[in-house]
Symmetry: D2
């Protein structure tokens, strides 16, 4: 049994992590922590999230002394802000913990990326170079060997799982950038008081046009340019991405289908649609990425859907944990 600490446990992804770890047969949910300044410190997780009453009634510990906690646990999940993860991860790594970071702090190893897109200079180039990028279906080997796993962003997960098979198979026309239109549920903005996410203000609307941090994350890992336009939608959970690509002239429907099936035939958490296309409802509350597509002449529309809190955060983190420790890949994720 591995002792586990979840930092940032009061947020929406933290709750999902706690649920997964709580029922994982090889893991012990040792403690839940929040920042010492958080108004949630000292409360029960089930006071904030009453659906967990009787299931997980652990108290949210104020994280006063990370080093002490580091000596008590084997595994740490950081569901924290980028700068907090940047500062905390090395403390836990120094104690030998295996760290799964759900923030953006260790996702891209290129020098200057954090100065350009995150507004801070990264202080840990060593760990940056050592971190595995936790796109579970593609980076199995690196994840299995790493001490630090940077769990991908929600939008980049849906985008890369859709585009990478096409790029690997050489089907995309280089002359035209794929256009990714993405709509996310409001939980993607986190659990916090904000006018922007207040009930009466939410309405389908684009944001961060041409300047969302997930665009360079996608481009860095795909090695290919894209146009990425995120939107806030009026639902709680889920991401739907509608991706428009130009195919190379000779590519046909069968080639696209083959690319997807080859890539994911033995991947239990990606579901390829042979007919129809996914919706938010197909994946909300589930750890899958669902992918459908339609080809017409040189044009391809791919639809990729995930639950932003699960395959876009918590379930992918636990999937990486399962890979890292040699557990069955879907352990504690699916109940069937």
């Amino acid at each position: 049994m591995l002792n586990t600490l979840i930092v940032g446990a009061s947020g929406y992804a933290g709750v999902e992590l706690a649920t997964y770890i709580n029922r994982h047969p090889q893991m012990t949910l040792t403690a839940l922590a929040v920042s010492a300044q958080s108004p949630d410190a000292g409360k029960l997780l089930s006071d904030l999230h009453p659906q967990l009453k009787g299931v997980i009634d652990l108290r949210l510990e104020p994280l006063n002394d990370a080093a002490t906690w580091a000596s008590k646990v084997d595994v740490v999940f950081l569901a924290t802000a980028h700068e907090v993860s940047h500062d905390l991860a090395p403390v836990f790594l120094a104690s030998g913990c295996v760290v799964f970071d759900l923030s953006g702090a260790f996702r891209v190893s290129k020098p200057g990326f954090y100065d350009a897109f995150y507004g801070f200079s990264h202080q840990y180039p060593h760990w940056l170079s050592q971190a595995a990028y936790g796109l579970a279906e593609w980076n199995h080997q690196q994840i299995a060997e790493a001490q630090l796993i940077a769990v991908p962003g929600c939008y980049p997960t849906a985008a890369q799982l859709a585009l990478r098979p096409l790029l690997e198979a050489g089907l995309i026309n280089d002359g035209q950038w794929p256009v990714i239109n993405a709509v996310s549920g409001v939980s993607g903005a986190g659990r916090k008081a904000s006018i922007t996410t207040s009930f009466c203000e939410v309405s389908l609307q684009p944001y961060g046009i041409f300047n969302h941090r997930h665009q360079p994350e996608i481009i860095s890992h795909l090695g290919s340019s894209v146009i990425f336009t995120p939107h806030l939608g009026n639902f709680s959970r889920g991401i739907l991405e509608t991706i428009t690509c130009r195919l190379k002239p000779t590519v046909r429907h069968e080639d696209v289908a083959a690319a997807f099936h080859n890539a994911y035939q033995d991947k239990p958490l990606v579901r390829i649609y042979d007919k129809g296309v996914p919706s938010i409802k197909s994946v909300a509350g589930l750890p899958y990425c669902d992918i459908g597509f339609v080809v017409q002449e040189e044009h391809l529309i791919v639809i990729s859907a995930i639950d932003n809190l699960l395959k876009g955060a918590a379930s992918q983190a636990v999937q990486c944990l399962n890979i890292r420790f040699g557990f069955p890949e879907t352990e504690s994720l699916v109940y069937m």
Copy 2:
């Protein structure tokens, strides 16, 4: 033309007031104000509420000096917090302005009410005794003569319009208190950053059981006890109240129908249903109170529905203005 100032114009009721006054043929929308500390000060109303772009592009003035504003306008609407209205109303009244206060600060003239239910001691007993309670269909004469009109709360408006005809007609069995179950849209909580009203947290749920301030407001004006249980619902606008009463033994359906029709036959903004019952959809965006009812033996269920921001706030305030100044009662409120 009467010069008009709206204080608290950036909130949801403020926006509706601005819209009504902007199109009122006898009113000039002189200025919109917010508290000097508000982050909205200096912004255009249409920046915060883009549906008004090109319609009302006025700037939100910081209310640094109420007395100066008081000398420039004839009419003031206070869509402000209780304590703010309590402090501001006398400043405007002293200059001779007619004041329509949408807060609870002047609704109940009984000594001790504010100490008991609002947590402050009222400093203006004179104005409290002079204020008309702006329940438009019932207090026409007082409203027409007052300098200060206290616009009723949203829940109390729907409750009193439903219960007062029955009480006046002597139909209710005194031995049993009417049970008012009310569900309000989230806009009732105001436009502010709050976890409680954030999109992912809103879910049908009761609150303020036995201790909501609207219960004593209802009881004070009806002169009859009630049990009032408010709920937050997952929609933006509207209130639906389901009111269960015990009738006196001989009362029949016809008596209840007669009581409602007699009370409201010449009232253009109350609609009585002879079949069916209202829903939130019947009234959202409209200045009406819709009332339906069903009688079975000694039991009566009354359904009363309003838009909490309109008949529960802004449109009732303008209805009171129309009464006060002798304009047609529905001026600027209905567009037909």
Copy 3:
């Protein structure tokens, strides 16, 4: 392993039943059936409900010959219309199957109940008298011994779990009927094309005032009159009931708390709130009934919340199955 047939498997409760039985370690999901006339016959369950893709890809069989199916299975769930259950249950019972009926066809054993409230004369008084009423927390012994279990209605489940401990403890003032205001999600109306449940028409609204069939079901089993007013709410899943009662004069908060805790201290699927009250969000997707309450003098408000498709239908049916066959009561229902 018990072979299991689910009839009416394409509806919302049917899907939940299929999911529970599919993962139940002592059950085999033998087949899913729909009426022979259903347009869904022949389709995959996962075509209609894509969240199940890769999880349950069984085909929906047309139920042409119930007797043949009866000879092949041990357990049958009927998630069918009242009249269909009335006709089908005896066929399966005659073959020795254990039948869990989610309709109203066998819930009340009083003569004349079906003529009065369901519009048909019951043809199977023997089975009606033999059926156990599957209110799992209260009728354990009858459920354990019955061949036919009538799973309670959704509204009656939430109402009875809230009221029965109070009645058993003798706390309610007989002179005043409890007032039950209930709001249900739209899934309660079933999966079918209808103007009433179309997206643009749904709005918080009461229906069936004084004449909903669940009122006499509640009264029959509680042995006490109530006033029950159901509403349709604008959400998919869940029921929240706000129940207003008059207490006997000497009853205090502690007495109510004791009644609830005594009744449910060893019942894993009822959660009593010692502070706060439940919401729809507390229970959506979960098999619990959550109960909170507030006492003020002689008045008591109880809030009872369930997922209408789970504790109000499918999970209670499986809970009854677990009781009937001696499996752990929460088997396949909770994943923790």
Copy 4:
């Protein structure tokens, strides 16, 4: 005063038309009609749409004899299915009525268009050639002179108002088709019983990929190819289109801004955003098309938002009526 008949008045666009005509100072709302087979025939409009109670209580006439109605009215709005409009319009035109058709039956004058995309052969090539395409901001002269006005589709209105200024100004790179991702509220599917639009089934999802009829409508009128992907969203009203274009190399932000402002500077119902972008909330319930945009190097994202029932149907029809008869263009459409 012009006598007016609305056919198909019970649907969502019909209700909006009835409201506009009812308050139009130069129009008389003579009658509302539905097909003779409709279950709504004989009902009051306000029974179906209770928000209109006391506002429009007209009865829905069964349209048994179009020719007789044609002799009684001056103006006809057809809010009917394509084939119904195709058959009815010539009857009313033959009597000299001015006809505003909200269906697709007369939108594209090219031979073969209806065979290819609507599944029927058009029988009225004369009227097809005479019909004005009612894109109000662009076809003023034709609308002013026509007897038959084909009101554009909802998606095509938002798309063309966004793209046409750019094409007229020659800013778009011909080598790459604009990508139009559009999300519509559920009211776009009409008022009818359907599983697809039932409350529990609606979820953000694309449909009609590469084969929606609005794609050829857009292309026909723009004279330029586009990729158009519609989605159903989980809200009642509104369309948001996110349009990704490649600009010619030398085009800058100022050129795009100038193109929009030049095109719409004197058009009261198109609002150009100089900062920020529109959302569904900006336009729901309003007759405007709101347009915002962002340029980055050679890439342009345009956001175009309308209410699908208003600028995408009823308000654009009345705007065309105002143009046709020389009334102020916004008569009865805006209330300010």
